[in-house]
Every structure is written in C-alpha cells, then in structure tokens.
Amino acid sequence: MTTDNGPCVIVTFHTTAEAMATEKICRKNEIEGRLISVPRNLSADCGIAWKGPKKTRKRLEEALETNRIEFDGVYEMVF
C-alpha cells in the first residue's frame, strides 16, 4: 500500500469513470497505489484521483497510455 506523507505521484481525471478504470488497470498490472479525493491544492474539483509511490510513475503512465485512459494531469508531490 502507498506510504502516506511520502513523495508520491498523483493522477487527476476528467471523470470518475476514468479513475475507476485506472484502479482496475493498476490492480491488474500490480501497480501500487489507491484512489483518493483530489487534493485541494491541485484543484477546486471534488473528483477522484489516483495516488501511488513516486517510483511507479513510469509504469503508471505507460499503463494509462496503453489502456487509453484520458487523464487531466500527473503531479509529483509530498502528500
């Protein structure tokens, strides 16, 4: 499971469905992380984001591209 309060990668989406699909894909590909409410400092939206360890960023982006998941942004931050 993701380490809270450590450096992490956060992906925001245009829709909840894309976030849900990301969770399934990450589970299938054994990419660490979990769904969270979008951090307030990233957006005024109250949607759902994906949060994982920073080290998973490359694999995560590859999985998103392979599965044609449309995302809003990818951020690295301590959260």
Partner: protein, 362 residues
C-alpha cells in the same frame, strides 16, 4: 482512516451552523437557516413558475451562495468556465433530486440542520440519503459517467450566475413584479442584506473547503476519508448547540417538528432519490450552486433543472406536506398519490440513466 481532517472544512461547517441558527433567529422558518431545495422552490414561486402561495420569495441566500463562490474562485484564479458534460441529462437529474428532496422537505444541508433541531424524521431521511448514495456508488464502480466537460468561453461560465444576480437586483428594485408569500414559510425570512451576506460567506467558504454532503459520504465509503463529512458533523453539533442556547431545542422527537412530516417511508425514499441523483451529478444541491459560481455551465444547467423540479413539485402537488394539528388533533402529513408515483418514476429514470451511461469495459 485515510486523509486528513482539514481545518478549513471544520471552520466552514462551524460558520454554516452558526449562520443557519442566526438566520432562523432573525426570521427564517424554523430549522431552515439554509435549505437549497426550499429556497430554490421559493425563488421558483417568486418567479411565478409555480402557484403555491405559501412558498414564494426570492431567497437572497441562494444568490449569495453562487456569488460568494464566484468571487472566491475569481480571486484564487479557480474560475474555470467548463461545459458539455451531458447537460440535458443533468437537467433531468437536477429536477428529480429536487422532487425527492421536497418529498422529504429539505435538501441534504437542511436534513443536517433538522437533525440539529431535534427532528428525528431527518435521521430517517439520512438513512435514505445514505442508501441512495450507496446505490449511486454502485454505478460509479460499474463505470457510470456523464462524460467530461470542456473549457468554454467566459460568457458560458457567467451566464447562470449573471442571470441570477440580475434577477435579484430586479427583485430589490421592483419587488412588486414578483410573487411574494403573505403567509407560510415564504413569508418568513431574515433581513435581505443579512441573508445575502450569510449566503456570500457560506458560498465563499464552501468554495474553499469543497463542502459537499454527497462528496463527504462518497469519500467516507470509498476511501475511508472523513474530511468532507466532518464539516457536516460540525454543522450538526453547531446547530444543536445553537438551538439549545437560543432555547428552541425541545428534545429529539418525530412529532410536531417544523416543516417536517413523520411519514417515514417517504422520508426515506425521498432522500434516497435525492442521494442517488446527487451521486450521479457528482455533488449535492449546495455543491451544484458552488460549482455554478466557479463557472461550471453543466452545474448551471443542473440548477435550472432544480428550479424546474421545484416548480413541477408544487404545481402538481408532488411535495410533502408537513404534519399539523387541526382542532387539537395531530394530523400526520406525507405525500399525495401523485407524489408517490413521482418518486417511483424518479427511481426508474435514475436507473435508466445509470445503466445507459455505464461505459463499456476497456
């Protein structure tokens, strides 16, 4: 527990609770310091979109909520005009959310305020609301989506807030052209500028904190994140304390509660309809107003749907009627046969919308 409880949410909840109590003391109906459903219904009445004479008044709180959010989002450069996410579907959902809420006699925010006032019927509403949210979450997990919104021109973002503000200015300048209640809940209101100021403050704080009853329950169920929900817990506690301090708290009961009925099945089902619809919309009625203030055209259309829903509710006698005492006899309120049929129609419509908008598997 995941996520942190943020001070901004706690502060927003406390201020909402204090202002809700203050508005009631200053003239708003009991347990109705804030109610998005009731206030939009009153505005629909003031605009002569329905003919129910006891519920007609241009509630400044609604204008304040939208304007407060707009001012704050402009100040923090978070005003983002967006639209195009299934607007017609959102209009329909907004209408049915209001019809469900008016069966219960209150939006999710008033539900919490009623709970703080000792109204046990509202706890039944909460159970229904939670059931509706769980139903909505089920479809979210199945891939429900109303598709994404796109950036649009600034005029789109200002359209609904602008019309609302202009109508309010017209109300201040020429109130005689609006329908205004002489008795009933619509005739009871706090001073206009106080109501407007309260709306502005709550709108601004809600924009910063993202206060949302639906988002709060969704986060609690899906992520065990209780941040947003904590705001509503604070509203409940603050209103409860406020009622005790002002002497209007008489204990917890289902009977003789202000603008409330004790037909528990319909309290449950009305809020279940509102909860399910709100999850599909991505936010509770309060949140739709806040997003409208942030320039979200889809939420603006939803608010117009909400306006239509309240008008239909009162033109066709679909809304709940409060318990009353006539000649010393306690009469349990509830809803008409048409209202019951509308609730079931609403569930059927939401089911169709939920199923047809689930995306195919990747």
């Amino acid at each position: 527990m995941n996520g942190r409880i943020k001070i901004s949410v706690i502060a927003a909840g406390a201020v909402v609770g204090i202002l809700a109590t203050a508005l009631t003391v200053l003239g708003n109906p009991a347990n109705m310091g804030f109610c998005i459903a009731c206030f939009i219904r009153d505005i629909a009445g003031a605009l002569k979109l329905h003919s129910a004479k006891p519920v007609q008044y241009f509630r400044p709180e609604i204008v304040g909520l939208v304007a407060g959010s707009m001012i704050m989002s402009l100040g923090y450069k978070e005003f983002r005009p967006r639209a195009g996410s299934s607007p017609a579907t959102r209009f329909v959902l907004g209408a049915f959310v209001m019809m469900g809420a008016l069966v219960f006699l209150g939006c999710p925010l008033r539900m919490v305020i009623r709970m703080g006032g000792g109204d046990l019927n509202a706890f039944v509403g909460l159970a229904g609301f939670f059931a509706g949210i769980l139903t909505g979450i089920f479809f979210l997990k199945k891939g429900f989506t109303l598709k994404r919104a796109y950036e649009v021109k600034g005029t789109e973002g200002f359209a609904v807030p602008g019309v609302l503000i202009l109508m309010f200015i017209l109300f201040l300048l020429v109130p005689s052209i609006f329908a205004l209640s002489e008795e009933g809940p619509g005739s009871r209101y706090a001073p206009v500028l106080v109501s407007l100021a309260a709306g502005l403050i709550v709108g601004a704080l809600s924009q910063r904190s993202r206060l949302c009853m639906v988002g709060g329950m969704r986060d609690a169920v899906m992520f065990r994140d209780f941040n947003l929900l904590s705001g509503f817990a604070v509203i409940f506690i603050t209103v409860l304390l406020g009622n005790i301090i002002t002497g209007s708290f008489t204990g917890f009961s289902t009977l003789s509660q202000p603008v409330s009925h004790s037909s528990q099945l319909w309290n449950f089902l009305g809020m279940a309809l509102a909860g399910w619809g709100s999850v599909l919309l991505g936010g509770c009625p309060l949140r739709q107003l806040i997003l409208t203030g942030e320039g979200n055209g889809d939420s603006g259309v939803t608010v117009l749907g909400m306006l239509m829903g309240t008008a239909l509710s009162h033109n066709f006698g679909l809304a709940g009627s409060a318990d009353s005492v006539t000649d010393g006899v306690y009469k349990v309120g509830g809803i008409s046969t048409a209202g019951k049929a509308t609730v079931f129609t609403g569930f059927a419509v939401l089911l169709v919308i939920s199923i047809t908008n689930c995306r195919s598997k990747k």
